[in-house]
Symmetry: C2
Subunit: 299 residues, 2 copies
């Protein structure tokens, strides 16, 4: 039972003749005859009565015909749907973002994406890096926006923004007038940092290690805004990425001058995953969007 047999069968039913069916199907008449014979063999019954001049469906042929047509039609529909979807800008895009990026990064990207891909359904998930990577592996998110670098070559990463770090210092602090600081300048200060699990905490710790600094941590939180309001209340100092600057105006933000005191944000996908037009559109967008924004952010 093969598809071309069904096609030939329908053609004979339509034309009432093996010869005309063969012509219509662009095969020689004996080839078509053979295939019909083969189909009848497999079913164990004649599908056509070969009367001298004409050919007519048997009762069995009459039962098969609508079903054969259905099968062929649905096959075409399936193929058509796949091909149509392939080229469409629709579909769903699920993006995962780390918490220390989400509030600053998302609004403009979401706006321009939904504007550019109105047919696509965009979902955003906020999780810490290891969860995002796991979900990339599991396929429950399509793209992750997080701090690079990451380990594991099953991922493909596209860095698009490297931002400097800033010290957040109480307005009246002795160092508050400086234009730039070294991390070691803060070695005596009490630190307010993100909770363990947030990758920016690791970024900070790594930077401190390089500066041979062992920060005295007196407070931990899950978000910058909490840290900064406590800094504003003179509880200590904090380190934040540029994105979080101006979050709280009762702090002074001073650029950290150390080498490598930066954070790099990138888009990550699972290597080998095929990406829809909407997926690729989203990736193109974040890269362009953030590149375009960099001068502003650097100002």
């Amino acid at each position: 039972m093969e598809l071309h047999q069904l096609r030939y069968f329908c053609a004979v039913a339509d034309t009432g003749s093996f010869s005309r069916a063969a012509e219509q199907s662009h095969v020689a008449q004996p080839s078509l005859s053979q295939q019909i014979l083969k189909l009848e063999d497999e079913l164990g019954a004649r599908l056509f009565d070969r009367l001298g001049r004409s050919v007519r469906l048997t009762d069995l042929g009459k039962t098969l015909l609508p079903r054969a047509r259905t099968v062929l039609r649905e096959l075409e529909e399936a193929k058509g749907e796949v091909i149509e979807r392939k080229d469409s800008a629709g579909g769903s895009v699920t993006v995962g973002v780390i918490p220390t990026v989400a509030p600053y990064f998302l609004p403009p990207v979401l706006a321009s994406f939904t504007k550019k891909f109105p047919q696509a359904r965009l979902t955003v998930v906020e999780e810490i890096t290891p969860i995002l990577l796991e979900r990339l592996r599991a396929g429950t998110i399509d793209v992750a926006i997080l701090a690079l670098p990451i380990r594991g070559h099953e991922f493909e990463a596209w860095p698009f923004l490297t931002e400097p770090l800033f010290a957040a210092i109480p307005k009246r602090h002795a160092l508050a007038k400086r234009r730039v600081l070294a991390l070691r300048d803060l070695r005596k200060e009490p630190f307010l940092v993100l909770r363990d699990g947030h990758c920016f905490r690791d970024t900070l710790v790594a930077a401190c290690d390089r500066a041979r600094l062992k920060p005295k941590i007196i407070f931990e939180s899950g978000q910058f805004s909490s840290l900064l309001s406590l800094v504003g209340a003179d509880m200590g100092v904090s380190i934040v990425p540029e994105m979080a600057v101006k979050e709280n105006t009762s702090c002074r933000y001073i650029r950290i001058g150390d080498e490598e005191a930066t954070r790099t944000i990138g888009a990550v996908v699972l290597r080998g995953r095929s990406l829809s037009r909407a997926h690729r559109g989203f990736l193109a967008l974040v890269r362009q969007e953030e590149s375009g924004r960099r001068p502003t952010a650097a100002a």
Copy 2:
């Protein structure tokens, strides 16, 4: 887009692995891989994401999967239905019968057929011979019961009953005491015969021709019962086949002794037509039924 490609595709989707799918499909893994690649090629898009270890459906694959399953399922159903129907005793049987046979022949045959093939739908059509032959050609009836012989070798005929002819004569007629008559004995009598178009009229005319008899026709009707009641009213004589004997008890029925003064009833089908079990069952039944009845009829 071939059926085995869809089968392979579903197998991979089910097992999550090309190797296991190949094993399950009883082909080598490279063969299956090739077919999947070919399918993806034709659709112009990947259906699976080949991640290092596992294989996962893409969005496009997810849209194709249910449709592929539908196609395969419906194909199986179609095949199953045809094969089931082929062996079933159901289906419809449409039988055509000439008017001069119908009322005598049908009742017992219908009864035993519906008893033996309760699932079959039997339809009976009463028409004169040329109409029946035309309908056999057109396929609107499956079997015709009529008087043989017929012309045209596009038909296949099975005679199953040859019955003698009887003269129907008024009770008080001079010939009413005879045990047997020759047609020529009736040469002076007024004849009551069937209307033109009824094949039994032709049978009668042919018999008269052979007897060098030119009957004086004073009445024509479409059914024997009308003729016989007028014979009973002393209007003249008539010739009827054995089947119609005893239709009217106010006549005497006397066997016609002439050579070939008989009528042969047979079943006719279109040569080359495939016959279902119900069709064959009906044919077997009429032959057996009437053979079994012959002694009775001859008594």
